[in-house]
Amino acid sequence: MQQVIFIMLSLLTLGAALMVVTSRSLFRSALWLILSFAGIAALYILLEAEFLAVVQVLVYIGAIATLIIFAIMLSRNVMASDEARFNNQWRLVVGFGALLFVALAAIVTQIPWPVNVQAVPPDAIQQLGAGFVGPYVIPFEVASILLVAALIGAIIVARERE
C-alpha cells in the first residue's frame, strides 16, 4: 500500500518538476513548482517527518513560490510566451542530464547502504526543538545571521535609486 502511494507521489512530483522545466509560460512553471513542492511535502509525511512537511508547505509554498510569482509579475514581458524559452545548447544539456541521472541512479542502487530502520521517537519534534538550543545552537545562530544578512542585502539590492 505504501509503495503504491509512494509511486503515485513521486510520479506527481517528477511530472510537475518536468513541467516546471519545459512549460512555455514562466507563470505556469511557477504554478507547477508549487505542485512539485506539495508532492515533496507529502513524501516527507511518508518519511514520518511531519514537522519538515509543515515547514516545506510554509516556507517553500507559502514564501518562496509566492516570491517567485511576485518577481515574474513585477518584470514585464516574461508573461509573453512567443520568444524562445531555452538557450541554444539545450540538446547537449538534456543529454548530459539524462546521462548524469543514469550514472547517479546506478551508483545509489549499487551501494550497500547501512540501513537500520528504527522507530521515530514519539517526542521527535520536542527533541528537534531542544536540539536547536542545545547541540545545534551554533548552526542555528549562523542560520539566523545568514537570514538577517539576506534580508538587509535583498532590501539594499532591490531598492530604487534616484
Binding site: 522545466v21 547502504w113 540501513v115 539590492v157 532591490a158
Partner: protein
Amino acid sequence: MVPLTWYLVVATGLFCIGLVGALIRRNAVGILMGIELMLNAVNLNLLAFWRYISAAKMDGQAFAIIVITVAAAEAAVGLALILAVYRQRHTINVPELDLMSG
C-alpha cells in the same frame, strides 16, 4: 516500507531535472526555479537517510531545516538581484546580460 533506494532514485531524478532546468532556461527566474528543485532533491535525500539510518537522533532533520533556511535566503537575494537587473537592463533573459563578456 518503501526501500531506501527508491527515495534516492526519486531524489536523483528531481536533482537532474532541476539541473537541466537551471542550465537550459533563458530566463533568470526559470534558472532560480531549477535551483530550488535541486535544493528540494537534496532535502529529500537528507530526510530519507535520516529515516532509514539514524531515526532515533534528530541530526538529519536539523540539517534539512538549515538547508531550507539557506534556500529561503538564496531565493530572497536572487529575486532582489533579478529585480535590480530588470530595472537597469529591462530584460532578465540571461543570454542578453552580456555586460562582462568581452
